[in-house]
Symmetry: C2
Subunit: 155 residues, 2 copies
């Protein structure tokens, strides 16, 4: 889609972003969206916004937020001191799915990561989302790695 606007999220976008995170089969199990937004989201937003290596991004279509994602730039020593981009929390508003917005999101993210000098863009995706895996493969991503997670006592 050509008429999408990509910009960094502001605090005013936060309720819409959390709503998109919630509006998802797996996300619904773990997000909290009471009438008042829990303070933990606001605190997290402020830390993300203050970090120059984080780009919490929103996508607008005709003044409405239709997608969100977080792009993180991580500096490593490996690959001769290479910078990586990592995508997380990619969501399209449910009423706007199947319109190519996801593809535009990744075209943007790949361009942005290239501009920043990254040698790689990476993400992990739940094995219970086979459609997502096929979509990422269609963009050129290779499922070369196992994405391993260990939940800690804090949650």
């Amino acid at each position: 889609m050509n008429n999408l606007i990509f910009r960094k999220a502001t605090k005013n976008d936060l309720p819409d972003i959390v709503h998109m995170l919630l509006d998802d089969t797996l996300g619904a199990m773990r997000e909290n969206h009471d009438a008042t937004l829990p303070e933990s989201y606001v605190n997290a937003f402020e830390k993300i916004q203050a970090d120059p290596n984080q780009e919490l991004t929103v996508v607008e279509l005709d003044g409405e937020l239709v997608a969100t994602f977080q792009l993180s730039f991580i500096q490593y020593l490996t690959y001769q001191g290479g910078l990586r981009a990592q995508m997380e929390a990619v969501r399209t508003k449910s009423t706007y799915r199947g319109k190519g917005i996801g593809r535009s999101v990744f075209n943007y993210a790949i361009r942005r990561a290239t501009e920043k000098g990254c040698h790689l863009i990476q993400l992990t995706t739940d094995k219970r989302r086979p459609d997502a895996i096929r979509f990422y493969e269609s963009l050129g991503f290779v499922a070369s790695h196992e994405g391993m997670k260990l939940t800690l006592a804090n949650f």
Copy 2:
């Protein structure tokens, strides 16, 4: 092992760290370790060191560096504004493998991530490293996700 010392890496450790990254079947294909350390490693080190969310760590045994890893703390909105720890570039010096150092490294990393308030510790591991996958599973990690990577034109 009980007599290991964990500390943040200093610039003086850099040649030893790069040597450990190189001393690895997959790593040997992508690292560069001429007599003079390429400037790209030094630049990357300085960026890592300046970032409070990055802990490039070395492990000493009797004054010798025997392992290294990088622990990154990434703030997200998901999981009600949760902080994640991510492990990368985990290496034990080849002459010290099979002595339980890897297990001590992960015990340390899990403790450190818990102290920082993380709800999750994550890593991706190459599917061509089956021994590593079994080792991570023995620590409680679950291979619930595909780790997908896309190499960019910059590399």
